[in-house]
């Protein structure tokens, strides 16, 4: 593991909403093709961190990001075409969002926006992404129904299929299992284990056991502060430095 290529390098990051600091991170490395877990109670700055990576701060007037986020050797704050940046970064939100388009169009939207017009190519992309998101078998006969009317668990897999259609290098998941049944959660977790062969995954969750199942390394955020980063197993074998991390992992607060 030592010497593995770095996908995301965060240095001296400060995120503010108006004048309140939401998150401060001195240094954080996320390696290529790993599943990186971020745990911490609500309000610890996890979501703000994800929003800063793909520059969603531009849609929130009060949000202000300072410091350096280096993605694939590139400073995200200096990217000239922010839309091209976001295409390289897939996002999955806590609540599943099936767009009010057909299932097919949900997945075909991103390729279409990038200029793919060929029907057979689109068919191929839709099928591949739905298969990889473990949704194909359930929807292959009704691709032209509204994606926004699928069940919550199906919509969340549709969201993942949509993210995959961007062919991202980085996949950000924000508490994806919050509105999803346990069976679907397990299926998505299996999908993620496969996906990390092709991309880097950042998994924000408040389920401590989820990072244990999935991620190699984990960071613990608390009250807008990066408390600790380390091998995930260390969090559970007590080899962590900070007492607060130990307390959180053992469920004493949060």
């Amino acid at each position: 593991m030592v010497g593995a290529a770095i996908e995301l390098l965060v240095q001296d990051l400060t995120i503010r909403y108006d004048n309140d600091i939401a998150l401060r991170v001195d240094k954080l490395e996320i390696r290529k093709n790993e599943i990186f877990g971020i745990i911490g109670p609500a309000g610890s700055g996890k979501t703000s961190f994800l929003n800063a990576i793909n520059r969603m701060d531009e849609f929130n007037d009060s949000m202000n990001v300072q410091g350096s986020i280096n993605f694939g050797g590139l400073e995200v704050s200096r990217v000239k075409n922010v839309y091209a940046l976001r295409k390289k970064i897939g996002v999955v939100f806590p609540l599943p969002v099936g767009l009010p388009l057909s299932i097919y169009e949900n997945v075909a939207l991103s390729p279409r926006l990038s200029g793919v017009k060929d029907k057979t190519k689109l068919d191929e992309i839709v099928e591949r992404c739905l298969i990889r998101a473990a949704l194909w078998e359930e929807v292959k006969d009704r691709l032209h129904q509204l994606g926004s009317l699928l069940s919550g668990g199906q919509q969340q897999r549709l969201t993942i299929a949509r993210a995959l259609s961007q062919e991202p290098k980085l996949l950000l998941l924000d508490e994806f299992s919050i509105a999803v049944d346990p069976v679907t959660t397990m299926r998505i977790e299996d999908v993620l284990k496969e996906l990390k062969k092709e991309m880097t995954v950042v998994l924000v969750t408040n389920l401590v056991q989820q990072v244990r199942r999935l991620s190699e390394r984990t960071a613990f955020f608390l009250n807008g502060e990066l408390v600790e980063v380390g091998e995930t197993e260390d969090f559970f074998t007590g080899v962590v430095e900070d007492q607060r991390t130990r307390d959180y992992v053992e469920g004493r607060f949060g």
């Binding site: 793909n54 969603m56 849609f59 767009l99 009010p100 509204l146 949509r162 993210a163």
Partner: protein
Amino acid sequence: MFQSTELNRRNHSVQKLVSILFGVVTCLLIVPVLTIMTVLVYKGGPNISFEFLFSAPTNGMTAGGIFPALLGTILLVVVALIFSVPLGVATAVYLSEYASDTWLTRLINLAIINLAGVPSIVHALFGLGAFVIFAGFGTSILAASLTLGIMTLPVVIVATRESLQAVPPEFRMACWGMGATRWQTIRKVVLPNAMSGILTGVILEVSRTAGETAPIMFTGAAFFLPFLPQGILDQTMAMSLHLFVVSTQVPGVPETLPYSVALVLVSLVLIMNAASIILRAYVRGQKKW
């Protein structure tokens, strides 16, 4: 266990009384108008025929039909829409999708409120000064329609903005997260889902535009024209002005003629309004997310 006390019972009967009283007052507001509509139908209805709708007035407007006025109203409405719908929708898109809460946004909102609130006769003066004289369109369909379009712009803006804001913000976030630009998000997801709401607003605007009189009196509508307009720089007759003319300006009009004109105009406007209400109800009943 719970016995109704004297106080409770009294309160209850007072409540009933208040409720009935208010109901009666509400009906008092509506009943006269329904009566009036009945009179319009009763007096103006029998005179309305295919011929009445599709022939020109004759005998110094004391006989004949209303075709030039009907056609003129349709022309005025269509030209007004061509101008005001794109502008109104774009304004609403700006306010709902781009603008943040700044002094400029507040100023725009204030301007829209005032566009809707300025008296129609002031719009008429503006149309005369700006389009007829300054722009040199003369008294024409173009000048009248522009005046009408500006006057009813707020109707489209308000309806469009409401339907845009009814599209949940999560859809936008999801699109932006995929790397869609703001415009791509608006075109692919936001606008298609607001379309029926926009259509409701447009129908409402048609109904408003068709009924206006003062703004077109000096900008493009004529009391009487012996021929139909040939282009948008011609003058035209219009239903609303025609009603004004036959009910106040022309001597010797048979009593039922203005009733028929009024009935046609009211029907036109109310059918449009009803259509917009039905469409809105239908859209609300449709579950898309």
